[in-house]
């Protein structure tokens, strides 16, 4: 009995056959990635003056913006990805096995993209190593140090986790000769010391890793990342204890949405209608309904508490600006995106005839874009109304509008991520083969199931 209704031959198809769709996607993302690199070089050359960021206070700007917003968004996606895979392993959600590795790879790509946005944001990347040499003292008080530490730890854990589960697959594939031979040295490296008997051991290790990862996720997505902001009491909209859970909910929401999009893309690209079956999308859609609701509920909390006259003055001003002021357009766009997606998700749950993978992918796209926008608004809003009275009224009003290089770089990391994903599909099997059916010539009877869809 196997959990994935497809044979190994079909699942390793991406490794052997490359369609023209693939080349188009590769070209587009490569060009966009190049544009990102060019924009970064110009920022290095001309200084951060090429961004729309400025000092808050007399310069009337905000010192953090698009890069930091995009950074939190990537961190959120990173946490969802591997969490799904860990949950699948830990709680035996067998039907989700076909997307487990996709989710893991998403994490492993999202984390460096988050780090890249931090890199974009700092003025002196050449001095970055100082963070390591000063780590023992800065880790005591600097939330940014906590964040970098946790991200690194998480990357190592997620990477190890992927490698553990990958080794068996790679070994099998090598024996069958389904891997591109040009990359043999890489596979040899990944398989150092491999013995077929490690199968059981590695399953156990992966299980423990999964527990570790699931414990770390709330600490990061709902902990060190929101603490970057929530500990800064002078910035209304940032301060408070509920940001942890709120941000955790947002992160999970956009992460699941990202998994839906990626899974739908694979299904479409390789005709894997039977491999990544409808029940997976229906299940993820259900999870999204719950998560979008939780996200909206947290939003409602802050709106209600901020709109009452008794709210602290700056918090009131900020809420006002979100509801009907300068931040109203991006804010309501984000809320609207969530609501429209929610409407579809609920409708397809009530009326199965409305369900389709394409529509689910669109809804997921809306959700994750809305959350990206929400994150950016979150970073900026805290700095637009930055300080306490009497300073608040004496500084000029702050404003912020990102520049083209800034947009190119922040959103360019999405193109870079897709590019890396595309390349990854040519290197490793993207669906766990261990649980797949044997190849047709080995067990002809499983054919019936495969063709039925």
């Amino acid at each position: 009995m196997s959990a994935i209704d497809a044979d190994v031959e079909r699942l390793t198809e991406p490794l052997r056959r490359t369609s023209s769709k693939f080349y188009v996607a590769l070209a587009v993302t490569a060009i966009l990635s190049l544009a990102t690199a060019v924009a970064y070089v110009s920022q290095l050359r001309f200084g951060m003056a090429v961004t729309g960021l400025r000092g808050w206070g007399t310069q009337g700007g905000v010192p953090w913006g698009l890069y930091i917003g995009t950074f939190i968004w990537w961190i959120g996606i990173a946490h969802g990805g591997v969490a799904i895979s860990a949950a699948v392993r830990l709680f035996d959600f067998e039907e989700y096995l076909p997307i487990a590795r996709i989710a893991e790879i998403l994490t492993l790509i999202a984390l460096p993209m988050a780090a890249t946005n931090i890199l974009f944001d700092i003025g002196r990347p050449d001095t970055l190593w100082v963070m390591i040499t000063n780590w023992p003292t800065t880790v005591q008080t600097s939330p940014l140090t906590w964040d970098m530490t946790a991200t690194f730890l998480y990357f190592i854990m997620a990477g190890t986790y992927l490698i553990i589960t990958l080794r068996t697959d790679l070994h099998d594939c090598l024996q069958r000769g389904t891997l591109p031979s040009a990359l043999n040295p890489l596979y040899k490296l990944l398989l150092i010391g491999y013995r077929p008997s490690e199968r059981e051991k590695s399953a156990q290790m992966a299980w423990w890793m999964a527990i570790g990862i699931l414990l770390l996720v709330p600490l990061m997505s709902g902990g060190v990342v929101p603490w970057l902001f929530a500990t800064m009491g002078m910035h209304p909209g940032w301060f408070g204890a509920s940001h942890g859970p709120a941000m955790f909910a947002e992160s999970m929401t956009s992460a699941i949405a990202a998994v839906v999009i990626t899974a739908a893309a694979f299904r479409w690209a390789y005709g894997w209608d039977d491999v990544i079956g409808d029940e997976i999308f229906r299940g993820l859609n259900k999870a999204l309904i719950a998560l979008v609701l939780v996200t909206l509920w947290f939003l409602l909390q802050s709106l209600v508490t901020g709109s009452y006259p008794a709210a602290p003055a700056e918090t009131g001003a900020l809420t006002q600006s979100l509801v009907a002021g300068r931040m109203a357009v991006p804010f309501w766009l984000a809320v609207g995106g969530l609501l429209v997606a929610l409407a579809y998700l609920v409708a397809q749950a009530l009326r199965p005839s409305l369900y389709s993978v394409a529509a689910s992918a669109v809804a997921a796209f809306l959700v994750t874009s809305a959350i990206l926008l929400k994150k950016i608004v979150f970073v900026v809003e805290g700095l637009l109304y930055p300080t306490r009275d009497p300073l608040a009224g004496m500084f000029p009003e702050n404003s912020y509008w990102p520049t083209i290089p800034e947009f190119t770089m922040a959103f360019g990391t999405i193109a870079v991520a897709v590019l890396i994903f595309l390349v990854a599909t040519k290197i490793i099997p993207i669906v766990e083969l261990e649980h797949a059916s044997p190849a047709p010539d080995e067990a002809a009877e499983s054919d019936a199931e495969v063709t039925e869809a």
Partner: protein, 287 residues
């Protein structure tokens, strides 16, 4: 242990902003950066409107929240005199200190210092001409390198032996008021114990010195003016600031009188239009 600080008598302050100019000249800070900044504000409604002025330098807090959040220890509090400094050699330019300081006194170096200060790092014809003029001027003087460079600002500061003073720090790092650390460390008795803003103030609003020492200028002044209203900015913030104000405190309804300060980019653009000679010599024609 001493703790440098200031007593600022806002009752005397006329809002002339000589201190802001003195600070810019002394520290060579980039355009748009005001390490010393004087708020000009008004309160009340017509016809009962009152004006007030409040200088707002870095408060060199005893519990500096900016230093807490710094991921590299570049921002730190110097033990010997309590001055809060930025080590330009280790700052990674994350701007967390700026976000983590409630006073709005941090200024990032957005451009190359030369571009930031003079707008001529851009390699266009005007920039080259200006630079050439300046170099000639410098050769006429003493040829120490850059007529615009105050050699005192290039000095290294203890305890780390790296440059921590001056607003001409490298692009991508953070700057702020240093209590004229280059003066404090100069070994020159005339300069140590003074700041440029204090010195230039025509009506002795600013009193700089060791707040722990009862004989210091600020403490003596406090004693003298014992009866005046005494307050600190954002006293409840937990930062324990070391700038003490005397006189009326701006109320929560205080409104700044400038809606905006001149935009840095516009200032640089405006200067591009000018005759190159204007930037170096004594005025020239403004076009």
């Amino acid at each position: 242990m001493s703790q440098m600080g200031m007593v600022i008598d806002v009752e005397r302050c006329q809002g002339c902003r000589a201190c802001m100019v003195a600070c810019k000249t002394e520290n060579d800070t980039p355009r748009g950066a005001f390490w010393m900044n004087v708020f000009r504000y008004e309160e009340g409604e017509f016809p009962d409107v009152e004006q007030g002025f409040t200088p707002n330098p870095c408060h060199h807090c005893s519990e500096p929240s900016c230093a807490d959040v710094c991921p590299t220890n570049a921002r730190f509090k110097r033990e010997e005199d309590g001055i809060v400094l930025t080590d330009y050699s280790t700052c990674i330019g994350c701007r967390y200190c700026e976000v983590g300081c409630p006073y709005g006194v941090n200024f990032f170096q957005w451009r190359d210092p030369e571009e930031g200060q003079y707008g001529f790092a851009a390699d266009d014809e005007l920039a080259r001409e200006v630079r050439q003029n300046l170099e000639e001027l410098d050769a006429d003087l003493d040829g120490s390198g850059g007529a615009w460079e105050n050699p005192r600002l290039q000095a290294a500061q203890e305890p780390r032996g790296t440059k921590m003073g001056g607003g001409n720090h490298k692009v991508g790092t953070m700057g702020k008021c240093t209590f004229c650390v280059h003066r404090q460390d100069s070994g020159d008795d005339e300069l140590a114990g003074t700041t440029a803003c204090e010195e230039v103030c025509p009506i002795n609003v600013i009193h700089f010195g060791d707040m722990e020492d009862p004989q210091s200028k600020p403490r003596q002044y406090l004693e003298e003016k014992g009866a005046k209203q005494r307050w600190k900015m954002l006293e409840n913030s937990g930062n324990e600031p070391n700038v003490v104000y005397l006189g009326d405190k701006p109320s929560n309804a205080a409104r700044g009188m400038e809606n905006e300060y001149k935009d840095t980019d516009e200032a640089i653009e405006a200067e591009r239009e000018r005759d190159a000679a204007y930037l170096v010599a004594d005025g020239g024609e403004v076009q």
